[in-house]
Symmetry: none
Amino acid sequence: MSKLASNLQIDSARLWSTIHDTAKFGATPKGGVRRLTLGPEDKLVRDWFRAACEAAGCEVQIDALGNMFALRRGRDMSKPPVGLGSHLDTQPTGGKFDGVLGTLAALEVLRTLNDASIETELPLCVANWTNEEGSRFAPAMMGSAAYVGDFTVEDILSRKDAAGISVAEALDSIGYRGDSAVGTQKFTSFIELHIEQGPILEAESKAIGVVDSGQGVLWYDGKITGFESHAGSTPMQLRRDALATLSEIVLAVERIAIELGPNAVGTVGEAVIAAPSRNVIPGEIAFTIDTRSADAAIMDALDQRIRAAAAEIATRRKVEVALDLLWRKPPTRFDPKLVDAVEIAAKELGYSNRRITSGAGHDACNLNTKMPVAMIFVPCKDGVSHNELEDATQPDCSAGANVLLHTVLALAGVAK
Amino acid sequence: MSKLASNLQIDSARLWSTIHDTAKFGATPKGGVRRLTLGPEDKLVRDWFRAACEAAGCEVQIDALGNMFALRRGRDMSKPPVGLGSHLDTQPTGGKFDGVLGTLAALEVLRTLNDASIETELPLCVANWTNEEGSRFAPAMMGSAAYVGDFTVEDILSRKDAAGISVAEALDSIGYRGDSAVGTQKFTSFIELHIEQGPILEAESKAIGVVDSGQGVLWYDGKITGFESHAGSTPMQLRRDALATLSEIVLAVERIAIELGPNAVGTVGEAVIAAPSRNVIPGEIAFTIDTRSADAAIMDALDQRIRAAAAEIATRRKVEVALDLLWRKPPTRFDPKLVDAVEIAAKELGYSNRRITSGAGHDACNLNTKMPVAMIFVPCKDGVSHNELEDATQPDCSAGANVLLHTVLALAGVAK
C-alpha cells in the first residue's frame, strides 16, 4: 500500500458534524432521534443520503425493499464491490449513533478517498439497509434478511405496522420502492461499524471491539385470553386476570434468562391490554418476548423453558396463553480472515482493542450467511442505546471510522 | 299479617314480559340496551314508566334533577313512605337487568298489591334515580348523590357530557326537569333490588343475596420510571426494567388482597408502556390500582401494604415508583334491622340465600347516609354486567321481586 494510503485518516470534524447535522431528521426534545423506518423522517434522511453519495461521485441504486446502495467505481469493475455501511432508521426514542455511525462513517470513508484521489482496485459500495430496528415492522434487520433470502420479498412487502399499513404501502408513500431486484447487488465482503450497545469496551477502556460473533435471537408474539369482569364484584379466587398472568410470564422470562446466564438475556418489551379500564379486570393482552444467546444450546433451553413456564402459568390461572415464534436467528460466527483484517487495522493504527461478541443483532449478522463479513465496535456511554441518552465520543467514532477505512483499503486494495 | 298478604306472590310472567317489553327502548342488535341517561331512549322509558305508575294509581312527582317518585298512598299518610326502586338508564352497551330489574320489580310490587286490594299502613314510593350509570355524565349515581347532598343541584346541572351538553339542557330537552326540589321526597326506609354483577350467588347456587354492606374503594394512579435500554446487549443484572417492576406490583396487589381476603379485592386495570418496542427494555409505565373492602380497617391495611410493597420493589430494582391516591370512598354498612327484614323475607319464602357485600356502587349506598337502607341481590349469568351479554333467569328475578314485596310489606305494614 502506498505511503499516502497507509497514513490516511478520515476527517474527524467532518464525520462528527455530519452525524450531528443529520440528527435533525427526527430530532427529539431530549436530544435523541425518532426516525421510524419508512416514515416521513426516514424519507428526509434517505433523500439527504442519496444526494450526499451522488455528490461523492457514487451511483445510487434502490432495491424493491428500499435498501440503498451507493457504488464507488474501482479499477477492476469485473469483481463485486467491498461493502460497508449500516442503517439510518432508529427506535421510537432512539439515539444519534445506532446505525447512523456505521452509515455516515462509510460515507466519510468515500469522501476521504476522494480527497486523497485514491482509486481502489475493487469497487466500494455503501449500504443503508431498510428497517434494521424492527420497531415499526417485524422482523428487525428486514432489508438484509430479505437480501440473503431468509424471507421472500412478497412476504416482507405484506408485513403490517400497528396502524395496519403494509411495508409496500409505506415504501410507496415515501417513494422508496426501488427498481432493482432484492439481492442483485453483490458484495465481495462486507464490513459494518457500529456502537457496541453494551458496557464492555467502556468498562475495559478499549477504543475498538473486533467483533468475531453475534447472539442468536428468538422473537415471540404472545396473546393471553382471560376473562374481563368487574374489579369490585369479582372475588380474587374467581378471577381469570390476563395482566396477573402476564406478570408471572414477565418474571419467568427474567428468571430463566438469569439462570441460563451470563450468556443469555430475555425481555418482554411490549404489552397491550385490550379495552383497559381502571375498574375492569384485564381480559385480554397481546405481548412480545425477545430472548438471545450466542450459544445455540442455550437458545434451545430458553425456548423450552419459556414455553413450559407459560403453559404452567396458563393452566394454573385457567387462562389461554398463545406463544408464536415469530423469528429465530441462529448465533453468528464472523469470517476469521475479515475479523483478522479488522484486528490488524486496529493494531496498525495503534488503537486499544479486544475481541467481542455482539449482543444486538445487526444487518452484518444476516449478510454473514452469504459472504465474508466482520464488524467493528466502538464504546458507547454506559453501554446505553435504543435511548435518547445514547452517546459516543468523537475520538472513539473517528477511531472506528479509521479502522473501517483501513480494513476496506486492505480488502479492496489500492490501484497502482 | 293476613293470610292473603303472607302468601302473596308477584306475577312472574307479568314482571318478565314488562322487563322484555321495555327493553325495546334502546334495544341493541346483540340483545342489549343502549339507554344513556336523559337521552331520547331514556325519555321513552320514563314516559312509559310514569304512565304505568299512574295506571297503578300512583301520583308521580319529578324533582329538579329528573329523579322520579311514584307515590302509592297508605292508611297513615302522616309518615314518609317506604321507598323501593333503582334506575332505568344503562351503559352504552348495557343489558336488560342492571337497574331495570329493581325499578320494574318495584312497579310489579305495586301492581300485585293492587290486584290483591291490599292497603299498606305506610305509603310506598317507587323511585327511578337519574344517571346511576355515569357513562354520559359524571359522577355516577348522580341523582341519589345530589338527593343526599353530596353535590349541590347547581353543580350537577352544570355537568356536561362529551358533546358539551349540560345536565340542565339534557333535562329540558326531554322535559324531565321537574318542579319538586331535590331532597324533599322523604323516605322511612329504602330497599333496592339489583342483579349481583358478580359471580358469587351463581357459583354457590343461591337465589337471593342479602346485601349487608357495600365496599369502600381506593383508586390510585401509578407511574414507574426505570431505564430504557437495548434488549440484546444489556446484561440482566444491569437492567432497570419498568415492566418487570410492574409485574411484581401486580402480583403484590393480588397477593395482598388475597391475604386480607375474603373481604378485599385488588386490581391493576390499566398499564401503558411509554414508547414500547419488542427489543427495548421498558423504561416507563403508567398504571392504575383499584382496591376495595367493606371493612375500613382492611382498606387501611390494603393502602399501607400496597404502598410498602411498591416501595420495597422500587428500591430493590433501582427504579422510581410513584403512587397517587385519586379517590377514597368509605365502606357502606346497611341498616341491620332492614338487612334482617330482607333475610327473614327470603327465608319465609324458602329461597336459598346468603349475606353478601356489594362490590359495585349503587344509589342505595348513597341513600344509606340519610335513612335506613338495604339491598337484595339476585344472580346474573357468569357475573357479567355492563355488557349486552348480561343475563338473569325469570325464576331468580321473580324470587328477588317476591323478597322485595315481603320486605316492603314487613316495613310498611298491612292496614287492618
